[in-house]
Amino acid sequence: MNSEKKYKLLQGNEACVEGALAAGMRFFAGYPITPSTEIAEISAQKLPQLGGKFIQMEDELASMAAIIGGSLAGLKSMTATSGPGFSLMQENFGYAAITEIPCVIVNVQRGGPSTGLPTSPAQGEIMQAKWGTHGDHPVVALTPNSVQETYEYAIEAFNIAEKYRTPVILLMDETVGHMREKLQFKDPSEIKVVNRKKPTCKPEEYIAYKPDEDMIPPMASFGEGYRYHVTGLTHDETGFPTNNNEISGKLVQRIVDKVEKNIDDITFYEEYKMEDAEIVIVAFGGVSRAAKSAVDNMRNNNIKVGMFRPITIWPFLEKQISAVSEKAKEIYVAEMNLGQYFIEVDRVAGKKCPVKKINKITGELITPKEISDAVMGGRE
């Protein structure tokens, strides 16, 4: 690649599209909503140039449905939204989970609830990402904290979706979506692109929802000669509905297990100055940048503080948080909500050390000073 083209000053939302395209996205359906709209606009611009498809649907219910249809017809598919739209997408998010259709949902979080603060950052959908749709189901949610990471984890989101046949959420926030930073493009040869596993058997031998050893059934696209049935009802290995209690239970268990039991493969996190840290700040997305500053400032005052930054928000990084709690004397969870990720950290780490909250819901980023004040205030 030409070295002049290798770097660009881009917005997080732009980097999201660049990453998605690099991962092979060829279908986007969406509905305009602040602060994610640039993702739709840029997709509309770029996809037809690559032979891909863009469509602006009538609402987010339809957008989510359309990307599932696009994926089922063989194209890597994505949608992007923010809180109100994310709420509407929950219905068919569950459909994608139970039917195991790979797709990527970007949520650039803004202030809520309801219409809330459309142009301001928040992290209010941590729990919604996990539990927004009804029933038990697998969830993968990744949280980048920079333009570069948005590009890289958009690629990763597609790879995980394709590998595990599951919807994946790229859980951004307005800070990351709208910040502008240098993006270093990867050469296509350095990008690992995963494509869904296809059936190798003859069509008449294809059992659409019969999993391989890895718990994942090979997926044929509609139109490839493997005529099969897809339903949101609990179904047996043939894909047809069943009321059989045992089979229904096994299906839901398998789709959860295929993600949860492969957690090491989808675990991404950063540790910053954690070697000797007695105080640990857990932060992610936009807030983690303030937390890093706070750590540096407090280190200048000889406070032994570090940061643990989960990039994989779901599944919860229980093993890593547990390890952090073994060494830490105190943990602070800083997030732009009233303490959602805190619930999980406290569940796992709370038995070993005090876990405290640093929260802000004013539509402003938590500042480094607010974090260090909270930590220092707790140490008087």
Binding site: G51, I55, L61, S63, G69, F222, G223, E224, H229, G232
Partner: protein, 274 residues
Amino acid sequence: MNTNCSNLTEKYFRVNRLPHIWCPGCGHGTLMNTVVRAIDKLGLNKDEVVLVSGIGCSSRAPGYLDFNTLHTTHGRALAFATGIKLANPKLHVIVIMGDGDSSAIGGNHLIHAARRNIDITTIVFNNNIYGMTGGQYSPTTPYGDFATTAPFGNIDKPFDLCSLAQGAGATYVGRATAYHAPMMQKLIENGLKNKGFSFIEGLSLCPTYYGRKNKKGNAVKMHTFFKDNCVDVKVLEKNPEKAENKILLGEFYNNPKPEYTESYQVIIDKFQNK
């Protein structure tokens, strides 16, 4: 073309999924039959046919048929179908919905799919009631009729689904009934041939809920009602008086316009030719 029923069953049905779940006397089986006959008449390749449905009695039809079949969420069939058709325009996409499915919870998707004139053939099995949930009034339950949620008579005014679809931009629109099966088949064939959004309403009958609640008699009586109370829309030309207080059937609208996926392909081609 062989239209022997047992041959059609063997060729197009997932025989191991039968018997179907519909009640005795339900009109849906007949309407499903007309869909299969139309596909057979046109000789479509089964591998290239996609049947999409939402939720409700009608939406179980695709599960019995040997095509690429997608049983989606309530009301959203057209949105899923739009994704499939745009992603792979070579596929023949057919959507089967019920009256509540298509015009209550899915009403917004219906008008927008029609507006885009995307090449999807939409068939509504209209039985004037929510059957799967036990007989609640739908957007096509006639004014004054009874339902479990309209115990004192329905005060909602019903939709005319064909007018709705035509007003929204469908380029082929027609209506038949489960009694007028050959006409239904012909309309579906024409809908499939239309390169654009086609909307075919099939009046069905629900003796179990709508019929019983409104004292319409058994399935035979309900079929007889269709026989005696429907006239072909063509009578409007020469004998409009014959249409008085009757249900109009037949082809209402056939006016091709630029199709959505073709228009999108024009945009793609601009870049390919550069």
